[in-house]
Symmetry: C2
């Protein structure tokens, strides 16, 4: 039994969660069965279904003013409970959309048929973010069920475009600053540093996502008849992209690192004290024969505090089974940059555009399309909500809470900072090997229930 500061009030919440474990899980399964893949237009109806599911569960939990808000793409869901005058307001955010499940053949069980194995729920969205977001709804339900009131005011804003750049919520927030006014935002879309270690994430990398398209010829050409004289769009794109990053992972775009600042000495020092087993990381998380990256930086620095360039996908020419001897006319790559604090997305995009123009291979035309851009975030660790979160999290897990960064991007944190002028508590319950965006994504069942309790107790303590 974990030592904690739980009051009698907390114990009532704990009992409710304990009693309703199976129902909470059944509901999560129903949520996970909806293939709400936001990037694929054919799943549009599933996004609608997922939004409606969230709205219905918020209503059932006791939230008020529940709305499914139409947007240009996938709906937002809003709800609130505002009957705690004088108490702070917490804005809970999450997303109901998920990444595509491909490559499908690598899933042990189908991505949209959730399954429990070895104490984990397997399914696309289990951890990112359906399972984690659902802890907020169940925490509020448990508090209201136990006490018929909440210790703080609560607003929910849930989106369906997190995996595709979040354009609709980015439009919505600045137009509804009064409606969304709050003291702090709360998001569960990150991971524990390691199993059992309560972790608050105070830094996120930014993200610029682009498409680079290379056109060489008016049509595909016969490689026998034209090979040696005609430009090849696939090879030109290969040549161009290979120049953007060297074999050590150092980005070769002029000026790219100009604004990059190292983390504060104290932050760096605390990272060095975190348990980190490079062999375990290599074998069980990355699953490769060697790590790569910039010399002179630890692995944590490389993934938390250094910018990157990644090619997420490339397509061009004939890629079916067998042989086709074409010189391809066109090729496309998806290229992103992860940004660290101080890097300005617009400036990076400009440098990327100049790099592509300067290095365009002979006989080709390069088109750059920017799909999304958001800066990096650092939260001030001295904010009172961070202090409360740190204490509750430590109590619930029985170990001191660590402050880390994440290499990932949660663009909405930047929107909340810019337009609502509030910090965000990033209190996540995933594990590093949950396989976000990968086949066999999972969420540890125990963390699902611990998450519900931790969120409930955070709201209690923050309102105390």
């Amino acid at each position: 039994m974990v030592e904690s500061c739980n009051t009698n009030m907390s114990l009532a919440v704990d009992a409710f969660v304990q009693t309703n474990q199976q129902r909470f899980l059944d509901e999560l399964f129903e949520f996970l069965r909806i293939p709400s893949i936001s990037t694929l237009p054919e799943h549009e109806p599933d996004l609608q279904r997922a939004a409606q599911f969230v709205a219905d569960r918020l209503q059932a939990a006791g939230l008020e003013h529940v709305e499914v808000i139409d947007t240009d793409r996938h709906p937002l869901v809003y709800a609130d409970w505002l009957h705690a005058p004088g108490k702070p307001t917490v804005l809970c955010y999450g997303h109901y959309d998920v990444q595509p499940p491909d490559p499908l053949e690598l899933w042990r069980t189908p991505p949209f048929e959730p399954t429990v194995r070895d104490g984990n729920v397997y399914g696309r969205g289990a951890a990112d973010d359906k399972g984690q977001m659902y802890t907020h709804i169940k925490a509020v339900e448990a508090l209201l069920a136990a006490h018929s009131t909440l210790p703080v005011n609560v607003k929910f804003l849930i989106e369906g475009e997190e995996e595709v750049g979040g354009a609709s919520i980015a439009q919505y927030v600045p137009l509804h600053t009064e409606k969304l006014r709050a003291d702090v935002a709360l998001i569960s879309d990150t991971s524990l540093y390691a199993e059992g270690i309560p972790t608050l994430c105070i830094g996120l990398r930014g993200l610029i996502y682009t498409e680079v398209e290379c056109t060489a010829t008016a049509r595909d050409l016969h490689s026998g008849l034209y090979g040696g004289a005609a430009p090849n769009a696939v090879f030109a794109l290969i040549e161009l992209l290979s120049k953007a990053k060297d074999s050590n992972g150092v980005i070769q775009i002029p000026g790219f690192y100009d604004e990059v600042k190292p983390p504060a000495a104290a932050e760096l020092e605390s990272w060095h004290s975190l348990p980190f087993d490079e062999q375990q990381f290599l074998n069980h998380e990355v699953g490769s024969t060697a790590l790569v990256g910039e010399p002179g930086y630890s692995v944590l620095e490389r993934v938390w505090a250094r910018p990157t360039l990644e090619v997420h996908g490339i397509a061009g020419g004939f890629t079916g089974a067998g042989a086709k001897t074409v010189i391809p006319a066109k090729a496309t790559a998806k290229v992103s940059f992860r940004l660290v604090p101080e890097q300005n997305p617009e400036r990076v995009i400009e440098r990327w555009r100049e790099f592509l123009a300067t290095n365009t291979p002979q006989g080709t035309r390069i088109e750059l399309r920017v799909l999304s851009a958001s800066p990096a975030i650092l939260v001030n660790p001295d904010h009172p909500a961070i202090g409360v979160a740190q204490k509750v999290f430590s109590d619930q897990f029985g170990r001191p809470t660590v402050l880390t960064r994440s290499g990932g991007s949660i663009p909405i944190v930047g929107e909340f900072a810019r337009h609502l002028r509030i910090p965000t508590v990033l209190m996540g319950f995933g594990l590093p090997d949950d396989g976000l965006h990968s086949p066999n994504e999972k969420f540890k069942l125990e963390n699902f229930y611990q998450g519900i309790l931790t969120i409930a107790h955070f709201l209690e303590e923050y309102g105390a």
Copy 2:
């Protein structure tokens, strides 16, 4: 009216072809409607239909011993007419399979609904090789219809795997050298040097077709959480392939050019005298803003007499619409080499394998699969059949026949040389802008009929 050496016999043939023009075209349309795409397993029944079509037309033309020969993949078709004792034997070869038609959206009319526009037949296979191969069948039909006999002995061997490496015919030929015994092979699968210029091709580049697969990690990874430390299969493949060829098109594989010999001085000199409009080639054939390739070589040398490395297609990671932030676990590219005389395919494959092993990026595994390999071919221009072909071709088109090479590969020419010890007359009627392997492939109608007559007269003169 073209001046020619036509005898009365020839005139009867010409009259028969003239009378039957529409029927010949209707038959060709029926042939072109069969989507006999040899590389796609789902078209297996179409390959069977195309083979049966060829067999039926050979039978109808008056050939004997017509056989559809089962193989491990797509059938061969054989037929003969051997009632000209003391006369030479001509082995007619062609292929009934075609390249995939993609990208479909670039076709003005559907690839398998042949259409006549501006005196051309448009459709996949119109020139490569259904339309050209059909000239042989119609030439024999016309000769037999006009004279109830043939001036030479004739054998047909037609395959359905030319576009996928020709494994079945390559197995069949060495096991049936007696059945296939002939004095010369005749193939119409090349082009006129330019419209109206009769052209015999005496050299073909060889081809090695490979797949290179790069595996970096056990699964796709989240680029936020692992970007900067995990190897990326797509970028690794980009890095690796970019090292194989420099921006001038010079292949960087050690020893690759060791066996490459320049063409004879006389051959080079004759090429320099050929009409060649680089701007026209760039604008109307290649359709780009600039040509590329090795400095110090003319365009004709680059496409006829220099080896190449081309990437025909590349695939890896997320390539759907929108954004997915994965670090891809796997990527594959199709990479071929065109070879020139003296280059040994096995040696080139060995050097390629070594290059890939030496340059394998950190944290990745590279697998090389060789799909096909055939050497380059040079035919001796002093062979009697070449002389007859040159004369007949000149007579039919009213201009001197030029001797050229082609940058393409017809592997069967090498098999005939090696196992039957016969040269091949490459007498093709395509045009350089026919769009082989491309959308809107076409065959000039006039060349279809001229081709039938030229083949018929070649058989007459060769038997005289």
